[in-house]
Amino acid sequence: MSVRKLSVLAMLACSGLAVLALVVAIGASRASAQIRTYTPPKTAKPGADWTERIEEILPPGVESRAEATARVAAYKPDPVKYPVPRTPWDGKPDFSGVYWPDATITPPPVPLESLYRPEAREYRERGGAAAGLIDWRGIDTPNYHCWPPSPVNGSMGGTVQLVSAPGYLLLLNEGGSNFRIIPIVGENAPRPSASRNPSYQGSSIGHWEGDTLVVEVTNFNGKPWLGNAQPPNRLPQTTSDALRIVERWSRPDAQVFEHRVVIEDAKMLSAPWTGAADRRGIVPYDTVQESLCFLDPELDARHKEFAAQQAKKSGAVR
């Protein structure tokens, strides 16, 4: 199987199918219109630098997302056979590489939904701080507005490139081309300034605990969802401006990295929630490719119609 073919299939599988899965979850009948909101990623190029070392879990020929996910989930990291790459500037694990797909290795101890406060119901009905944008019962989700992926996944989409640089971990998403810049500070170093404004991806600050990069993320704008609605029963898993996330990033060996979040949101959740431990496998490509996200005009028109109806309804109540 050619590298090119693997790449095309892999990229299509990871982003196209992810979107498709969401669409199916929301309402299969609307799939055809919605999937066009996303420009499918194209190809990646073969590794020339940091990714040459890898072939084992996701060799060329692994083409389906299901198979790749199963392989990554079943993989037993072996730091003797595949030593953890380390940076020349601080000797810490070097996360650099292109990774796919996202496999759960340890499920969350409790379902996120079980922690949502009953009094948050009205806020969740509105779609949270994304109120007015979202009809959670079927028209759309934050994905369709080209917002970054859920912070539960570290805002990572299908195919993601991580880059270790002196003082930083960079996260570059292929789908949607969004990014996170995570400054890494020393134990007693001054903290970098936060963003002036709250944002979808928050302000990140990382520090090392041994070989684990611990990243605290605050300063969110209340618009990200932790999980989509599952009509007719489950409301969107909204967030508030009180959202605070602690991520733990680790590199058990050269084949994979692992990521886990603990999420606090005093306005939404009755207790902190520990997310799934996720693992992604490195793929033998050098960089992610430009794959911008554009709004589907048809979806946009339907959304505006919905917003107008809502406005009319609330006007009538007044």
């Binding site: 073969p46 570059l172 969004n178 890494i184 020393g186 404004n197």
Partner: protein, 267 residues
């Protein structure tokens, strides 16, 4: 051996040497920016010996929107082929791709007057833009462009770069021909349409140079044989180091409309 291949080898040797030596970062304890993130952003060189472009940088807005042409745009306008002029006469401001939140490629991105952030590691530089947020991956080892098998046209093109002395020279190809070189407000002459087309034949050579701890200069030469009769040179754009440690996240949402986005970006 081609020049490109030699460049790649030389670059690989430099990077390899840096890795072998295992250079340690010299921490800069003074100063808030950069030191806070442990990157010693102010030091002139990276630990592996390249000019250090790391930091948050911002230039003044440039263009021809306020009566003055500060971006050599009258010259550019005169370089368009008659055929390109004909096509541009049939378009309007609404056709500008940034109206749909499409990130403009450099050099237009350098005209906007909004911050950018640069971060380096051995072999690569990464350029992040605050306005129309997107990232650029710039290999700095002089390696060849992405091979034709994997190359496809994009808004930002395919970059590869090499150091010429202390200047990072970035070669960019493989554009999709959808981007504009300036905005609809840029009308340097009475006959201006405010439309600034490009084609998929565009080739850009950028020169990035750190002048001193607080100054980064940028200049670009744009060739586009399908739309321009001659190469066009931008003036030198002077970026100044910002005191913040990070650019803001200012997502562009088409449904908000371009005016809202520009307002959120601020001045």
């Amino acid at each position: 051996m081609s020049r490109r291949a030699m460049g790649a080898v030389a670059g690989a040797v430099v990077v390899g040497a840096a890795l072998l030596v295992g250079v340690r970062m010299s921490m800069n304890e003074s100063g808030a920016t950069g030191a806070a993130t442990g990157t010693s952003a102010f030091s002139a060189q990276t630990a592996w010996g390249e000019p250090n472009l790391t930091g948050v940088w911002r230039a003044s807005p440039l263009g021809a929107g306020s009566g003055r042409d500060t971006f050599n745009l009258a010259k550019l306008e005169g370089l368009y082929t008659p055929e390109a002029h004909t096509r541009m006469n049939g378009l309007s401001a609404n056709d500008d791709p940034t109206m749909r939140c499409t990130p403009p490629a450099f050099p237009r991105a350098a005209m906007l007057g909004h911050p950018i952030q640069i971060i380096q590691r051995p072999g690569f530089a990464f350029v992040f833009t605050e306005a129309y947020p997107v990232f650029r991956i710039v290999p700095t080892t002089g390696r060849p462009h992405t091979s034709a098998q994997y190359l496809f046209p994009t808004h930002l093109g395919d970059s590869t770069a090499r150091w010429e002395g202390d200047t990072l020279v970035v070669d960019v190809i493989s554009f999709n021909g959808e981007g504009w070189l300036a905005g609809p407000q840029d009308r340097p002459t009475n006959g201006s349409t405010g439309v600034w087309l490009t084609s998929d034949a565009m080739h850009i050579v950028e020169r990035w140079r750190r002048v001193d701890a607080n100054t980064l200069e940028y200049q670009a030469r744009v060739e586009d044989p399908k739309t321009l009769t001659m190469p066009w040179d931008t003036p030198t754009v002077v970026f100044k180091r910002q005191t913040v440690d990070r650019i803001e996240e200012v997502m562009c949402r088409p449904e908000d409309g371009p005016a809202t986005y520009l307002a959120r970006l601020g001045s």
